[in-house]
């Protein structure tokens, strides 16, 4: 074999284990559940192999599934907007601050290292009937009996915002950091107020970061399973809870496949739109 041919083969040898793993453990399984979603789980428990549209018909027309899907998307959308409103000014402060930038960035990385379930359950200590807030209000005499503040849609959104906010701040920060501050100064020296300079120069230039953060918040929020279980009430189930119910509790795997695929398609369309207009590189920047 020639030297060039060997050179050309080397990267593929290095890549093959990782590509093999992604193919065998992600791509083929995804194709498999597409096929599986057209099978039927019979009443006795076995799978009926074939091409049945029953699962898809159920998933797409049953009001129960549709309502939960819309509710899930609504919760994810509210979470994303709240994250953007809370996170943007903070990211701006980090990007423009001089002395405290390093420590703020280091602190921003901390939540990524703290377990999701601990951050979620920590709110029970704050808002629970024997939590910090109730104890405070009781001792101040504002209330005479503890109030149940947990287990509703509001606390699910609160938990999601708490989980996803660092993703938003980090992505916006990365894009703000890449903007030349001279541009804003140039705008003000040409007569714009600082606020105008921000609205017309900095904000538009930081939109790619805002979009990347928003996409991450939305996709991760819409796919969440744990938060509604820990912080939501019985009526606050999200789509991933339906999937878990179908797969683990009811053992109806063909139906569970169709439900998972529906979630994948809905979120995949969003990712595809994002990719079409902004590309994946911005997302990789924020994650790295």
């Amino acid at each position: 074999m020639s030297v060039e041919a060997r050179e050309a083969r080397q990267p593929w040898i290095l890549l093959s284990p990782a590509l093999g793993a992604v193919t065998l453990l992600l791509l083929v399984p995804l194709i498999f559940i597409i096929v599986y979603s057209f099978w039927l789980r019979s009443a006795v428990g076995g799978d009926q192999v074939g091409f049945y549209l029953d699962n898809w018909q159920k998933v797409l027309t049953d009001r129960f599934y549709r309502d939960i899907l819309f509710n899930t998307l609504k919760i994810a959308a509210i979470t994303t907007v709240v994250c953007a409103l809370m996170g943007y000014p903070a990211a701006y402060f980090i990007a423009r601050s001089k002395g405290s930038k390093m420590i703020l960035l280091l602190l921003l990385m901390l939540p990524f290292w703290i377990s999701y379930i601990i951050r979620t359950m920590s709110w029970i200590n704050i808002l629970g009937t024997s939590g910090a807030l109730n104890s405070l209000l009781l001792s101040l005499g504002v209330i005479s009996d503890p109030i149940q503040m947990l287990y509703n849609e509001g606390t699910v959104i609160l938990g999601l915002v708490h989980f996803l906010l660092p993703f938003m701040v980090l992505n916006v920060y990365v894009s703000l950091e890449g903007i030349d501050t001279n541009l804003e100064d140039a705008a003000t020296s040409l007569g714009a107020t600082r606020w105008q300079a921000f609205l017309q120069v900095t904000l538009p230039l930081s939109l790619p970061g805002l979009a990347a953060g928003g996409l991450l918040c939305f996709v991760l929020g819409a796919g969440t399973y744990i938060t509604p279980v820990i912080l939501g009430g019985p009526r606050d189930a999200m789509f991933a809870n339906l999937v878990f119910e179908a797969i683990i509790t009811q053992l109806n795997w063909p139906l569970g496949s169709a439900l998972s695929l529906l979630l994948l398609i809905v979120l995949g369309v969003l990712v595809a739109i994002y990719n079409r207009y902004l590309g994946m590189s911005q997302l990789a920047k924020g994650l790295g």
């Binding site: 990267p11 599986y36 377990s115 496949s257 998972s260 994946m280």
Partner: protein, 261 residues
């Protein structure tokens, strides 16, 4: 004035991110027998109770073994792939990168379902092997992103110097490239371990009955209501997943300073 408003806003945002977690740590040292406010003293009794709780200790062992195995496999695959992407002019680079980070783009529930049903169809039911396969595929993209970002900064000149001085490619890799890459490899491995150690959604789908990792153990304890023991377990987890990387970074900096002088 505007700047001060942003500063206060930022402080509030950071407070929002950290206060609840700080309360978990605070309450885990609570002497009060219900583990709630008001705190009436500091005690280590909840940590002692954890130590004597067989289920919790078993969960710890499972999580650590799973995390270590995931880190080894995921880092090996990730480092090899990153080397190929950074060092070679691979045709279709962008497609390959997208493919390799695809496991992050697919919602974790969907990834969990697909892997569970496919491997089950192949005859591999819920088991430790399935759990390990799931954790590897889930952590791989993060390892690749972290390692790739660090590899870019290593200059190729050093390797070329070694090669031109007569070292063969294998010698060059082990005595030049690998030592230079070590921080990147360590960062990738640490990242994989932490993500595996913290994972819960996929784990709930893949774990065999009776096997618990620390997060699923906390999850099942939470069904009864929050107890000071859970807060203590949370504190231990925070120390592990935050303390270890900080310690690692400190050691790395010390080593770098020593070799620099």
């Amino acid at each position: 004035m505007g700047w001060n408003a942003i500063r206060i806003w930022t402080i509030l945002v950071y407070g929002f991110m950290f206060l609840p977690v700080a309360v978990v740590v605070l309450l885990s040292f609570n002497a009060n027998q219900f583990g709630s406010f008001p705190m009436n003293g500091v005690s280590l009794r909840w940590f002692e109770e954890l130590w004597n709780n067989d289920a919790v200790m078993r969960a710890f062992r499972t999580s650590i073994v799973l995390g270590l195995m995931t880190a080894v496999i995921s880092t090996t695959l990730g480092v090899l792939a990153s080397l190929a992407l950074v060092r070679y002019n691979v045709p279709g680079r962008n497609t390959i990168t997208t493919l390799l980070i695809a496991p992050i783009l697919v919602p974790e529930v969907v990834l969990a379902v697909a892997l569970l049903l496919f491997l089950n169809w192949l005859g591999l039911g819920k088991s430790f092997a399935l759990l390990l396969a799931g954790h590897v595929i889930f952590t791989l993209p993060f390892v690749i992103l972290v390692v790739q970002a660090r590899l870019v900064s290593i200059k190729r000149d050093v390797e070329e110097a070694a090669l031109s001085l007569g070292a063969n490619p294998v010698q060059t890799f082990f005595s030049v490239t690998l030592p230079l890459m070590l921080p990147a490899v360590a960062a990738g491995a640490l990242f994989a371990f932490t993500i595996s150690f913290d994972d819960i959604t996929g784990t709930l789908f893949w774990k065999p009955g009776g096997v618990e990792t620390v997060p699923t153990q906390i999850f099942s304890m939470l069904r009864n209501s929050i107890s000071p023991e859970i807060n203590a377990l949370g504190t231990v987890m925070i120390i592990m997943t935050v303390g270890l990387p900080l310690l690692g970074a400190a050691v790395a900096r010390k080593l770098a300073m020593k070799s620099g002088t």
